[in-house]
Symmetry: C2
Subunit: 147 residues, 2 copies
């Protein structure tokens, strides 16, 4: 499989003559055995909020995420479809409006994020458009994912 | 922001003299306005299955995902923590054991995946270790994400 293998974090690589810069896309550390901290969130909009307003607030929340100390990446996506015709028993949790995910390089970065005033302002914005929230901290199923 | 901008899909780039290959990590199409199809799944293990067996089956499911027609990427991660001390009302959906995600380049690839016998065998394996399943099809909150 194609792979970028370097000692340094791949997104720090650049070659000006080629104009190539590798993006920090998986946010998996390439240091063997070391993995990013990842938090995933299910978001439900408040009762009475229109889809349009919720979407605008998600866009705004995404914009506000830039520059938060310790936060390597934030992504929020709208839920477009919620199929129920599953091949195994359906897990009925009710309606979800969006799914967010946060990436942190390590515990130190995560703590820096938690302590940050910019992060606190970001969470205050969250209170204006998130009716209900379900957080998950996730981890790789095997060390192979950290390689 | 650092970015790789090319006409071609970035993960097809390579430069042997540098030994650099860009990874297909975001699986966002770089063709403007075009976005990957992404499906996210909440997985609950069957009653009575040990965490160890569930983890082994997740690893196996990940291994089986390689080479499935139309499936660009599959990722499954274990749920490590489920915090309840949220800054907005908590969305209590009960216990979740893992979260999976599938990436497809477009509708044609997704259909090829659905029609594939290898995919059907993969789903049969899913029946052996997924007690309950909640699928979501997600989409970008704005076209900026597809750029």
């Amino acid at each position: 499989m194609l792979a970028l293998r370097r000692e340094r974090a791949p997104w720090l690589l650049s070659n000006d003559s080629l104009g190539l810069v590798a993006l920090p896309d998986t946010y998996q550390s390439f240091e063997k055995g070391k993995e990013m901290i990842r938090m995933l969130y299910l978001l439900v909009k408040p009762e009475g909020m229109s889809d349009e307003q919720f979407k605008r607030e998600c866009v705004r929340h995404d914009e506000m995420s830039h520059g938060i100390p310790g936060l390597l990446k934030y992504e929020v996506r709208l839920v477009a479809e919620q199929p129920t015709d599953t091949h195994v028993p359906f897990f009925d949790i009710g309606h979800v409006d969006a799914i967010g995910e946060c990436w942190f390089e390590n515990e130190e970065a995560y703590q820096r994020y938690l302590d940050s005033d910019i992060r606190k302002t970001w969470f205050e914005h969250g209170k204006t458009f998130i009716g209900k929230l379900k957080p998950f901290r996730t981890e790789a199923v095997s060390s192979r994912h950290g390689e």
